[in-house]
Symmetry: none
Subunit: 194 residues, 4 copies
DNA sequence: CATGAATGAGGGTTCATTCAT
DNA sequence: GATGAATGAACCCTCATTCAT
């Protein structure tokens, strides 16, 4: 039992170190040497666990995908009212920005670093964002289902606007190192949902 | 005089080559060697004109700033109605995406590559984006000034929402290689301005 | 009993895989990883059976020595006339070149890869070649013994010439990927033996 | 004037160092690090002059081709009699083996290290050997032209036999670190030319 | 007898930059 | 204003081998 944990220790340390460095510095700016130095493993140990740097990046994105959605849903699920659940998307962003070394969205950042759209990593990014888009749509659907008033705007349109505001808030907060965009977007969504 | 023109030729070629490569491939992924090779200049000539790669990047951003705003304002100025001028922001985006090798916003991409907020390049990016934000605010002000109806929402709030939708549209279009976000945001703005 | 067979199975697989790879790719170009991957054994199993890569090479040469002479003698022994037996040396070469992935003589190839003459492997190579030289000498002796006519040339000289033609044919066929040298040498030997 | 020599000094040192090491140790056994260390240049200087290790090998073979033929022809040209000129091929071999760090033929050795026949280097090797074969044929042609006696054997056949004996002598001398094969082949050729 | 994790040393290559001319 | 040679540091990756289990 303890064995399993111990044996994959080094792989875990590599992944967690890369997890941090890829997010904080970016993919290209982070070298294998720094990763193994901070993880405290030998270079060959790295390549024993990961065939290449890109494969490590893929593992990073898989973990990030799970973690990030877990954080997001934890915040959303702390609310029951459909309207509040939607607005909590931006509460999540504000919390993210203020309580961690915020460097924007790891997936958006990697989009900048990997120019070729039809690559493994770019496809993973699209999958991640498509899941976010779908999740927001579900939140909006719940809201529309509950509110008796006949909505004039379709669910999809409404959801996409919120999605774009969400994405725009992330990138803008990253650029300015400020939360004004998040608050502004939250208020905009509040008005839209009235 | 002719000399000056001739002599700055190589500087121009370097800058224009970097302009293209930095945008298409990113900063880290573009090496000095590729730049001088494609520009057709000697390595020492490069360092004669630009003290470092970062200085070249600064020159790139300066030129990009001028060019991009020139393109944007050209599109906006082709309309007179304040409402149309605002909506033309998204017409501009659609045109950008469809008529060029679209790789998102050069400034947002560089934000991903330069982690440290308090650096020369990151400050240039903020200046660029702040100017865009201010420009959108002016467009919204013109719209509000004209429409007699007393707006309940403040100009600044309205402008920021449009700004965030604009930014979100860029990044989303880049992720999906699709214009759906632009069209969706344009419609959202249309409704908001009603 | 069954155990012994089963347990030496992995050793056999390693040796046979190395047998093929060392010959097709060369010693330096063949890594331990490729060998164990294609043999389907664990890395530690490899070092359980062979103390080092060089020891595996030694085992390879031992097996190769037995196999190769077995093939050669099988061809030679299909003839009874001393003259035909000598000429069959070149029939063997032609068959070797045309019916297999011919990459020259494994021993000569390793001579290129191991520069130091006074090493275990180089000594094995000399032993192998000395045995070939001796074998050819025996064939020539049989031929001289039978033919009543007093040969003016000594047996040793004649045998060495054939030996050198044999070796030259192998290396030349490898260089040109062609059998012309084998045929030419065969004809030369035919004339000499007249 | 001195400038030109000085500026290409480092390229020359790299090539000459590789020239020696590739011959003495082989291609795979010689690393870039050793080459630059013994040449006394920085690693990047190496890649400034040679795009890759393989390109250095190509340059090595080009120089070797010129040098080796120069040595060979110098020996042959010290004789006037066609018969002596042919026999001097083996005098050259003997001299080569006894007056230098003989490690066989650089081209044959590389044939062992580069398995793929249809590659740049393997093609260079064939060209080198084809030129040797042609050169020997010319020597034999001169001999046949002069000797009035009608040769029964064709020039091409005779030349090829000598070529194969020449190649076989090189490889055999390398294997045994001995000149017996050269002497034996020389005597064989003497008899053949009688 | 067998395993996979871990290693130090080195593989070939490219980086942004500086130098003398 | 322009050149190409030269550099130290770092790039990603692979080598044959040893270890604990």
């Amino acid at each position: 039992m303890t064995k399993t944990v111990t044996s994959s220790d080094s792989r875990t340390r590599i992944l967690e170190t890369a997890y941090r460095l890829f997010y904080e510095q970016g993919y290209h700016a982070t070298g294998i040497n720094q990763i193994i130095a901070e993880a405290g493993v030998a270079k060959a140990s790295f390549y024993h666990h990961f065939p290449s740097k890109k494969d490590l990046c893929i593992a990073f994105l898989q973990k990030r995908h799970r973690d990030w959605f877990s954080w997001l849903k934890q915040e959303v699920d702390s609310h029951v009212e459909p309207r509040e659940r939607i607005l909590s998307l931006f509460a999540f962003l504000e919390q993210w920005l203020t309580t961690s070394k915020f460097r924007g969205c790891a997936f958006l950042n990697l989009t900048s670093e990997f120019p070729i759209p039809d690559s493994v990593i770019r496809r993973m990014i699209v999958v991640h964002k498509a899941e976010l888009r779908e999740y927001i749509k579900e939140l909006v659907q719940s809201f529309v289902d509950k509110t008796a008033s006949p909505q004039k705007v379709e669910v999809a349109s409404l959801a996409d606007t919120i999605y774009v505001l969400f994405e725009g808030s992330i990138i803008t907060s990253q650029v300015y190192s400020s939360i004004w965009a998040i608050q502004s977007s939250r208020e905009a969504v509040q008005r839209i949902l009235t």
